[in-house]
């Protein structure tokens, strides 16, 4: 393929990847930002979203688009509910101690994987996209649905931003983030806020999964990759900064495609992983975060 179209394809793929990254990482970033909790089960919330989406679209009669729309509503509710329950039953009792929380969310992720394996099975199963449109460019074809994912991701991220900056709920979350004791003194029910934020983070992962699952497939081990990628994005962007997360997603998404053109893709992944570690070591506030 000539260089021009090649670059075009790499850019398109990079944009889709950036959207996917931003979508999966935003929930993790939110949870870390407000609760100072590293949620290792985040990838499994993503997986649960995809699996529930399969159930919804599989058993719902009518056109695929309608079933898909239903999945977009049902999945985040179900997964958010599970997350709120996990928070109340487990994380709260650990008093959100960072290390204990990590161990507990590792435990949760095993349990979620087993639940998916038992009730859904070991197969990778496709979920039909709400519409089947292929863009035929002169040099190559491209999935129209992928473009739709980019648009949906932008809308969703905009909604999260509005929620955080323009609503009372966002104000309460930011207040809790700044100082939970003072927030409590002002009559904020911190327990409820935490459960809500944890559910919101998981729900965002689930929405991301529903949007992405027609591109990939639902599989009980699919949570591992989004988790690592989300970690990378959130760290590079600066832990807890939404704007940083978005910026990092765009940079990583776009550069990933280009790097793997010049290097062996496995080598590219090694370098990316080491880069993340180095950022944490030498610039713990992230590439885009301000010095604390």
């Amino acid at each position: 393929m000539d260089f021009g179209p090649y670059l075009l394809l790499a850019l398109m793929e990079g944009t889709v990847m950036a959207a996917v990254l931003a979508l999966t990482a935003v929930g993790l970033s939110l949870v870390f930002g407000v609760m100072r909790v590293v949620n290792v089960a985040h990838g499994e919330f993503f997986m649960l979203g995809a699996v529930v989406a399969w159930f919804v679209t599989h058993y719902m009669p009518g056109p695929p688009a309608l079933a898909f729309a239903a999945a977009l509503v049902i999945c985040p509710l179900v997964v958010g509910g599970i997350a709120a329950l996990s928070d109340t039953l487990i994380l709260k009792r650990l008093n959100y101690d960072p290390e204990a929380t990590i161990v507990a969310t590792i435990g949760l992720s095993y349990i979620f994987q087993q639940a998916a394996l038992t009730f859904y099975g070991p197969d990778a199963r496709p979920v039909e996209a709400p519409f089947n449109l292929r863009l035929q460019l002169p040099w190559f074809g491209y999935s129209g649905y992928k473009i739709a994912v980019v648009l949906a991701a932008m809308l969703l991220l905009l909604a999260v931003w509005l929620l955080m900056t323009r609503t009372r709920a966002g104000l309460i979350m930011r207040a809790t983030q700044l100082d939970r004791n003072t927030a409590r003194a002002f009559g904020i029910n911190v327990d409820k806020v935490y459960a809500g934020v944890f559910a919101l983070g998981a729900g965002l992962a689930a929405v991301a999964a529903v949007l992405i699952v027609p591109i990939q497939q639902a599989h009980y081990l699919m949570g591992h990759d989004p988790l690592l990628l989300s970690f990378i994005v959130v760290i590079i962007g600066g832990l807890g900064s939404l704007r940083g997360t978005l910026l990092a997603a765009v940079i990583i998404g776009l550069s990933d495609g280009v790097i793997s053109v010049f290097f062996s893709p496995t080598l590219a992944k090694i370098l990316a992983t080491l880069l993340v570690a180095m950022v944490l070591v030498f610039r713990p506030q992230g590439l885009f975060g301000a010095k604390p």
């Binding site: 590293v38 507990a104 590792i106 435990g107 087993q114 090694i270 992983t273």
Partner: protein, 311 residues
């Protein structure tokens, strides 16, 4: 003090005697568990005593495993120097990781170690022409012997595992009672105060991590030679979580906790497979129960309830 030494010697004597009465299946299991317990002991030195929660110890274990395995298969080393190479490689990679990762702390330390381990795993895949990637390779049976001892047969293997375990356990006990051991605990309890008392936290933590890496490297090296297989799956994230699980179950910051945890967890999974196929659930539930109800593990719980002399 002497009670503690007597207890450790009794455990070792029991393990020595066990080989004569155990049925064959459990005989090999205990040999495996002793080697894995050495790995967990190393983990405990970093996590239990020094407070360094690493999610990357699979890297140290796999480095020992591969240094020994490649030493034998590629360079034709005899088993003894290959094992030493594995031990040293484990320590060296821990030192390299520590120099960077110890600049951070807490959650960042976990993620940095996790990322290093992931990079290590990918590196094994990347050099697939030497490592045979995920598929791994078999260490030839002829190479698996120490002098007259054929480590691929059951009795010498058990004996070798026991020796390694005994050395690890006694060294651990000595370490805990040493000045360095107390400095490590001081790091865990209050890093700032220990700094004011004149300790250099970075140096103490790095030393602890290197010792931890030596243990993990030795365990990986021994696992390769005793059981004959080297593969990339040992570098995957599950093998970083495994020693954490063992230590939490047995009791973090206790010398015998890692062994107890490895023993119980191994049999929990093994026996549960007769009842349910949901192993993942068993592991997950064990982690949750521990962290919620017994954050100090079994021996920690005992220590809180009277047995204060448990080291």
């Amino acid at each position: 003090m002497t009670r503690a030494i007597a207890l450790h010697l009794a455990v070792l004597a029991l393990l020595f005697a066990a080989q004569f009465i155990l049925p064959p299946y459990h005989h090999t299991n205990i040999a495996r568990i002793m080697v894995l317990a050495v790995f967990a002991m190393g983990y405990n030195i970093a996590f239990g005593y020094t407070g360094l929660l690493s999610l990357g110890h699979a890297l140290f274990f796999a480095t020992g495993l591969y240094a020994t395995g490649l030493g034998i298969e590629l360079w034709g080393l005899p088993a003894a120097p290959a094992l030493v190479l594995g031990l040293l490689a484990g320590g060296a990679i821990a030192a390299a990781t520590g120099v960077l990762a110890l600049r951070t702390g807490g959650v960042s330390f976990m993620i940095v170690t996790l990322m290093f381990a992931q990079a290590g795993y990918l590196t094994i895949l990347y050099f697939g022409s030497y490592t045979r990637g995920d598929e791994g390779f078999v260490i030839a049976r002829a190479a698996r012997s120490l002098g007259p001892l054929d480590l691929s047969s059951d009795t010498p293997r058990y004996f070798a595992a026991l020796i390694l375990f005994a050395l690890g356990l006694l060294a651990n006990l000595a370490l805990v009672r040493s000045r360095l051991g107390r400095a490590m605990v001081a790091m865990r309890e209050n890093e700032e105060r220990s700094r004011m008392l004149g300790y250099n936290p970075f140096k103490v933590k790095l030393t602890a991590l290197v010792i931890s890496g030596l243990y993990a490297g030795a365990a990986g090296a021994a696992y390769g030679v005793l059981f004959g297989y080297v593969g990339a799956s040992f570098a995957a994230i599950q093998y970083s979580i495994m020693p954490l699980l063992y230590v939490l179950l047995g009791g973090a910051g206790t010398t015998l906790g890692p062994f107890l945890g490895a023993l119980l967890m191994f049999y929990l999974i093994d026996l549960s497979s007769g009842v349910t196929t949901a192993h993942l659930f068993v592991v997950g539930a064990a982690l949750l129960v521990l962290v919620l109800f017994a954050p100090k593990g079994i021996l920690g719980w005992l220590r809180d309830r009277g047995a204060k002399w448990l080291p």
